[in-house]
């Protein structure tokens, strides 16, 4: 949350009221408590990456054996795939909230119109929704990290450090997702988002080191966002820290700032006509 406030202050140049941002988060906590359906959604979001981890990481991993990385380190395949699944769950947890749910509130039930009739400002709404998206993502990633530690895929110490890194991943993807959602015309556009999400899921160094691809493809992947999330989190959970991870952090911070800025600008221009 501290990062949210700091970044948004820079982005917009006016102060956010933590109480008002908190009131937006409070609304989502209330919605979570009132509907049993929401818990089901949350549960399914947790199981998806766990199932991938078990089937591919452990199952296919038994066929693949150990991986020898570029730096000469040898890593069991499951240890290589698990952090990628963690990054993916941080991404999809936040995106579920800021694309599907955000669009529904934005376009159909007019939640934000109701909010804008109060002292809340568009930036505060965006910051509150994003913080909530990050919290939702962290429910997935927290549980997933426990699974990783239990399976011996990382140590408790590295898991504790990886947890806040998944918050950053959630904030970055959540912010960009929210900005994109303000441009969405109808439900059919969500197919595009999920296709894009799936492409990122497959080709971000998730299942094989990007160095295995031809150089142009490797460069292309290095431009896309999930790659940076995977690199950052894999570096932490495997305990192989490197300076290039600062670049990954910077990339995610830029996503956060730009996404949040665009989202609140669009909220203003669409809802405050």
């Amino acid at each position: 949350m501290v990062t949210t406030y700091a970044v948004t202050r820079v982005a917009r140049g006016n102060r956010l009221s933590p109480a008002r941002v908190g009131a937006v988060i409070n609304r989502n906590v209330g919605a979570l408590r009132s509907g049993p359906a929401y818990w089901l959604v949350l549960a399914s979001g947790f199981f998806e990456p766990v199932l991938y981890l078990l089937s591919i990481g452990v199952g296919v991993g038994a066929l693949v054996g150990d991986l020898t990385l570029q730096n000469g380190e040898v890593l069991p395949y499951a240890n290589f795939v698990a952090p990628a699944m963690l990054a993916v769950s941080a991404m999809s947890g936040a995106l579920a909230e800021t694309t599907f749910n955000f669009f529904f509130k934005f376009k159909y039930v007019k939640t934000y119109d109701a909010m804008l009739a109060t002292p809340l400002r568009p930036m505060e709404i965006a910051a509150g929704e994003l913080t909530w998206a990050m919290i939702r993502g962290s429910l997935y990633t927290g549980a997933f990290l426990i699974v990783m530690v239990a399976l011996g895929l990382t140590t408790p110490g590295w898991a504790l450090l990886a947890f806040p890194a998944t918050w950053l991943v959630g904030l970055a993807f959540g912010a960009v997702g929210m900005a994109v959602s303000t441009y969405i015309r109808g439900w059919q556009d969500f197919d595009l988002i999920s296709t894009g999400q799936f492409a990122l899921f497959l080709f971000s160094g998730t299942f094989s080191p990007v160095q295995d691809y031809p150089v142009p493809v490797e460069i292309l992947i290095a431009i896309t966002p999930l790659y940076h999330a995977v690199e950052l989190i894999r570096g932490i959970t495997t305990g192989m820290l490197s300076w290039s991870m600062l670049g990954n952090v910077a990339y995610l911070l830029v996503m956060l700032a730009v996404g949040l800025y665009v989202a609140s600008r669009r909220l203003t221009s669409v809802l405050c006509r």
Partner: protein, 304 residues
């Protein structure tokens, strides 16, 4: 409470509000009357500080809506044209959650929510979600929500559109009570009876402009006659009778289905129609209403 001079709102080439002047005093119930597309809602959105005026001067509660929007909105209660209640929350939570947006502490929010649900007669629905509520109940909940911050000024955009007569009367009665408490009400409507019931003063809007301004009584006296006779002539077009009945009453307005005859004394006018040898298939003498005022001012009826 509200002060506007030369207020304009344009959307691209379209001018929704075309230079209006307004003043609303504390404790007043003020209405915007006009057909759909007259600029009522655009004006309300500017007063509600969610839409920026294109030109002109606007002060709400003595403040500038562009620079001090949040401070003004903290003291406004807004009941929008289409309900935007929160479907993921219960009736009670809709109010307590909204209270948090105003920075009202939790305990105080709960106290006010309970009190307001009592006021709008929804206490027994407190734990229900919003979806199963009837249109009238949703509308009452919207009004309760608009009251959660104990506003100085309440904006109601077409508060009873789409409600059945019983629900409308209940709502009017609640709004009348608010007015008695000294809350300033500003509402838009395209219903004459609503304006006559609730408004101390109103402006008639048409095509973005204010075409008349005053109390309902004053408007009727100024622009219309005391009584109106509605004449129907079977299958004949009412327009063909305009010449034949010329000179009776002060004004004749042919509508597609009937002829309106404006006269201080409706019965005398009907006698004159009969004396000239015409026998309308139906005759109705009634008191003049704001509907007539609108027709006289714009030449059009006030239906959707």
């Amino acid at each position: 409470m509200i002060y506007a001079r030369g207020l304009v709102k344009r959307f691209g080439d379209f001018t929704a509000v075309d230079g209006i002047d307004l003043e609303v005093a504390p404790g007043e119930a003020f209405g915007f009357l006009g057909p759909n597309g007259a600029g009522k809602s655009s004006t309300m959105r500017m007063i509600g500080c969610v839409s920026t005026p294109t030109a002109g001067e606007l002060r709400i509660l003595g403040m500038d809506p562009v620079r001090e929007g949040p401070a003004i909105r903290a003291r406004l209660g807004v009941c929008p044209q289409t309900d935007n209640l929160d479907p993921d929350l219960t009736v009670f939570e809709n109010l307590t959650t909204y209270a948090r947006y105003f920075g009202i502490p939790r305990a105080e929010g709960r106290r006010r929510a309970a009190e307001l649900l009592e006021f709008v007669q929804l206490t027994e629905k407190s734990g229900s979600t919003v979806d199963p509520l009837s249109g009238g109940m949703k509308r009452r909940l919207s009004i309760a929500r608009a009251m959660i911050n104990e506003p100085d000024l309440v904006l109601l955009d077409e508060p009873t559109t789409g409600l059945d007569p019983q629900a409308r009367h209940l709502l009017w009665e609640r709004l009348f009570r608010l007015k008695q408490r000294g809350v300033t009400l500003v509402l838009t409507t395209h219903y004459m009876d609503e304006a006559e019931q609730l408004c101390d003063r109103l402006v008639v809007m048409d095509a973005g402009k204010i075409v008349a301004d005053g109390s309902p009584r004053h408007l009727i006296e100024t622009y219309s006659t005391r009584e109106v006779v509605e004449l129907r002539f079977g299958d004949d077009a009412p327009a063909t009778y305009v010449e034949k009945l010329a000179g009776i009453g002060e004004r004749l307005d042919p509508l597609p289905d009937r002829l309106l005859l404006y006269s201080a004394d409706g019965d005398a006018a009907v006698n004159e129609v009969h004396r000239r040898g015409f026998t309308p298939s139906s005759v109705l003498v009634r008191r003049s209403t704001l509907e007539d005022v609108f027709l006289i001012l714009t030449g059009r009826t006030l239906v959707d």
